[in-house]
Subunit: 579 residues, 2 copies
């Protein structure tokens, strides 16, 4: 039976628990949000001993069904103060599943001057190791050192200098199949929570473990086959994402007039072509990079890549649309190599690229560095390596914090988390998601870009109000369920357009556990997760006053469509599952 | 008829409005909180054009009744996000009253690169002046320069470098009768709000103005006579405060075991005697200072002083108990001259001394400077003069911000405002006030030290729970009313112990305006003010989750009494006026 590893970071005691009672049958975001709801005081200080960091693989993770290798990381967010689930790729989750561990709970907190520890987990158990050489290192060097010590087949979850110094924008990075720490549980500052527990890395070695067996192998095989077909046959998951990565969106979103430019002043960037997915692939092909890669075994979408510098040397991977936007049009930077270096720096420092891009925009608003200056942005981020650099300390703490530090009042955040790569005024469905998701502004929580712009799963006017609350609500429920399964969220493109997709997912879950799980149960799962999350936030002191975009979206027209944000917080309550 | 001066800081238009409708009959905190409630969006960014800074003299200010020269300053707090009233002494308020101006509203906001302006107000009207020489200056140099230009009889309201750079801990300073900018609207970062409006100073010249007349002169004279007797006859307002200033409390509060020491780790400081009021007076007498001074004309309490350095040169005044605590036992600093210099620096930089003291504690928790090192604390604050010093930018932003910058989780704040000089575990009445006042942690909002420790106006066990919610509620109502009158809060000591005191206050107000104001109306005034404030906060997103002290007060015993904080947020709702 799948178990939870409960790890006390103060006394270094590790216990195994069965997934029973309130936790029975849960995985991924379902498990992380339930543990946080049940075990963490909503009003606690996020960096105190009372907060917990919860890691969980999905219900289908570890099987050979396509695209099921994702991981959920949860806790009370140091950035937002809300509950948080941050979802990551990489090889860690499948190794966890192979060891039959559904979740890890890091709890309590060592004394202030305690040294950083590495937690090593294999078939024989878990142990704390002190590896002084990796303290303070970037995630690239730290993971290289850990592969050296533990072999190239381990999976690594690691924080960088940002997380070690509890910077609020810090991520947790995960190694990909090539061994690069390019995958991130980026949003919500969970790297700071891991840093507060004084855990630099968790290394997982599944060698010799006997993976748990699927309950009904034949039924699973048939469903998995159909599932792969669904993904491969859809134009987005079968062609668009594998050809150009997520940066295929740059030209599409720019054309739609909703590519936030210069800290959300315009919906179009005149140099969008220079930072597009098409341009990225052109560079990759010129420089002997790799245009298609998966972030975990069994991925058929292959949206990742290997991006090299002009000399043909590896620079970064997992180089996403949102990152290109955050450091590109958002900052008026059009040099792709500068943007790639900024992505690399974020991965190495252990920083969320979206939050960090919008943070650099605050520094530009304040005149700390000039708009459009990629090299200055690179130099700025490098300051975060030095724990004693105070400008680095400010920048590492994210958008809202940096704006406060410099008195900037144009701050694109909801619940202190920065808005991602779609201007909500010209993509109102995703705007409703930004305002109402329990996570703080987050496009992945209910990606209405599908219906607003891509016309996948429906066609809803991005500029009007009609239908946008409903679509956001439905997507938020569906996404919560997807995040419980271990599926990559990109499967949603195909699911939304394929009649038997939900049924196929239900068949996979039924066959995996020998239960009778229906398509209806998927929606119920999503609703239960959101109930845990909304009730945590309510008890943490969040009200409808926090469910709104900043005033400037309401007061300023966005070119070229000349649209404002026009939903009230009261109206948007209908996008939330009732608790 | 008393009027409001409405000042648009963008287009520099000034209009006079009568106090009618919702504002009729209001003064002081009654007026500031009503204007903020009616005119400021509770969810706006505090530094945006939508926030307003409101200044109001009290209902009795400008009369010759004793101790009626106080001023209220209000707005949405940049520090807390709540509504805020911050109360100050100095000569400004009486000059405002002499011009028959009950309030000033600064609204809108100039362009980001606009130069700082000085607003000059006299009997002929109000005008904007650009005085480049005072931009960036400390409040001592800036006010000296303004006295030079406008004559020594003007009253000055001025921000320092902290406010100019919108630091969240910044105060607004007011000149005292000696011309020193030693009086402060300290709490809640209102200096940052003034800075965001690009107003460096307001200079008020009441020369030649005909003060408004009291409606019933005979009745007023009789009541004012009795009022002065009440103050002079009470041991606290007649003897204690005039002899030793507010620092008389150091030994008393230390003895009571509720003097917060080393960031609230102990209730006693072994070097309390070195920083006591008695010691302060000893130094003052040795160095030819002045032990007794009023902050405005007509003060009979005279709690201020002139504190000189070893060479006999003026160092600071308005040197309060809370300041001595904040930089003294709170930081383990026992050198009175260092503490006096820290007070001087705060006045000059335009920083709240309480917030700044607890901020320095965060820097000490983080190891930025050592505990107990007064010179290091002085050097740290001096960094705030330089707008480009990033450590200064952090420290200037207050306790919660600095703690976040450095990952400190022992953060003594409620609603992001720091706890003042009484440990709530061993003075539970004031703890209830910290948790529930609409202002964020604030002792002046309901000073139950009277009943808990001083045994003025009652005797309630400071360590137990009984009676402490009720006393806090009653004091919060009474204080709101006092803050509407222009009375110094210290009158409360005498009022609580004198049977006809409330009646005397009612007679003063009745005679001033020719109305029939009763002692019962005083309570009603307080309740109306709190209703405005609580409803603003509710709409800004504050819930009972915000009405609680930080966890460490609940989890850690305070020596020497070994007491914890044991009120729940639910229990404490009874201390709040219902809205």
């Amino acid at each position: 039976m799948a178990r939870i590893l409960r790890v006390n970071t103060r006394n270094k005691k590790v216990t195994n628990e069965e997934l029973t009672g309130d936790y029975a049958g849960l995985g991924g975001r379902g498990l992380t949000s339930r543990v946080v709801r049940k075990e963490v005081s909503p009003t606690c200080h996020p960096l105190s001993s009372q907060n917990k960091l919860v890691v969980a693989s999905g219900l289908l993770t570890g099987t050979n069904a396509a695209n099921t290798g994702r991981l959920s990381v949860g806790g009370k967010s140091p950035l937002t103060g809300t509950i948080k689930e941050s979802n990551a790729g990489g090889t860690f989750s499948q190794k966890l599943a192979k060891l039959d561990i559904m979740g890890i709970i890091l709890e309590d907190k060592p004394e202030p001057n305690a040294h950083f520890q590495t937690l090593f987990i294999n078939k024989d158990g878990a142990k704390f190791l002190e590896i002084p050489e990796i303290a303070g290192l970037g995630t690239y060097d730290a993971s290289a050192r850990l592969f050296e010590q533990f072999g190239s087949k381990v999976g690594i979850m690691v924080i960088g200098p940002a997380g070690e110094n509890t910077r609020l924008a810090s991520s947790i990075q995960f190694t990909d199949p090539k061994g690069n720490p390019s995958r991130a549980a980026g949003r919500g500052g969970l790297g700071a929570l891991m840093g507060s527990k004084k855990i630099k890395a968790i290394v997982i070695d599944s060698e010799g473990a006997k993976a748990p067996e699927v309950a009904d192998k034949e039924a699973f095989k048939a469903a998995a086959k159909r599932w792969a077909e669904i993904l491969v046959n859809h134009p987005v998951t079968g062609q668009g994402l594998p050809s150009f990565g997520t940066s295929i969106l740059i030209n599409i979103i720019n054309e739609a007039g909703t590519l936030p430019t210069k800290n959300f002043r315009d919906g179009r960037f005149d140099k969008a072509a220079d930072i597009s997915g098409e341009k990225m692939v052109e560079f990759i092909n010129q420089r002997k990079g790799v245009a298609k890669e998966g972030c975990h075994a069994g991925c058929v979408i292959q949206c990742s890549q290997k991006y090299c510098d002009e000399k043909g040397e590896y620079l970064t991977s997992g180089f996403e649309y949102e990152t290109v936007w955050a450091f590109g049009s958002n900052l008026l930077i059009s040099n792709m190599d500068h943007i790639a270096m900024l992505d690399r720096l974020c991965d190495d420092l252990g920083l969320d690229t979206i939050e960090t891009g919008t943070t650099v925009a605050m520094a530009m608003e304040a005149g700390i560095i000039p708009w459009g200056d990629g090299q200055a942005a690179i130099d700025l981020l490098k300051k975060i390596y030095d724990p004693k650099d105070y400008l680095g300390a400010i920048i590492g703490n994210g958008t809202s914090f940096t704006a406060e530090a410099f008195g900037v009042d144009r701050v694109p955040v909801v619940k202190k988390q920065s808005l991602p790569a779609y201007d909500p005024r010209a993509a109102k469905g995703v705007g409703v998601t930004y305002a109402t998701t329990p996570m703080g502004a987050d496009h992945t929580a209910g990606y209405a870009i599908c219906q607003n712009i891509l016309k996948v799963g429906g066609d809803i006017d991005p500029l009007g109000k009609e239908g946008n609350i409903e679509v956001s609500k439905n997507l938020q429920i569906a996404t919560a369920a997807v995040d419980a399964t271990g599926f990559c969220l990109f499967v949603a493109f195909a699911v939304l357009d394929t009649d038997d997709a939900l049924d196929t997912i239900a068949r996979l879950i039924s066959a995996r556990f020998g239960i009778n799980f229906t398509a209806d149960d998927i929606g119920k799962t999503g609703i239960e997760i959101l109930k845990d999350e909304y009730s945590f936030n309510r008890d943490a002191g969040f009200t409808l006053a926090h469910d709104q975009l900043p005033d400037f979206f309401i007061n300023e027209e966005l070119p070229p469509h000349k649209v404002k944000w026009d939903f009230t917080a009261e109206e948007m309550q209908k996008a939330k599952v009732e608790i």
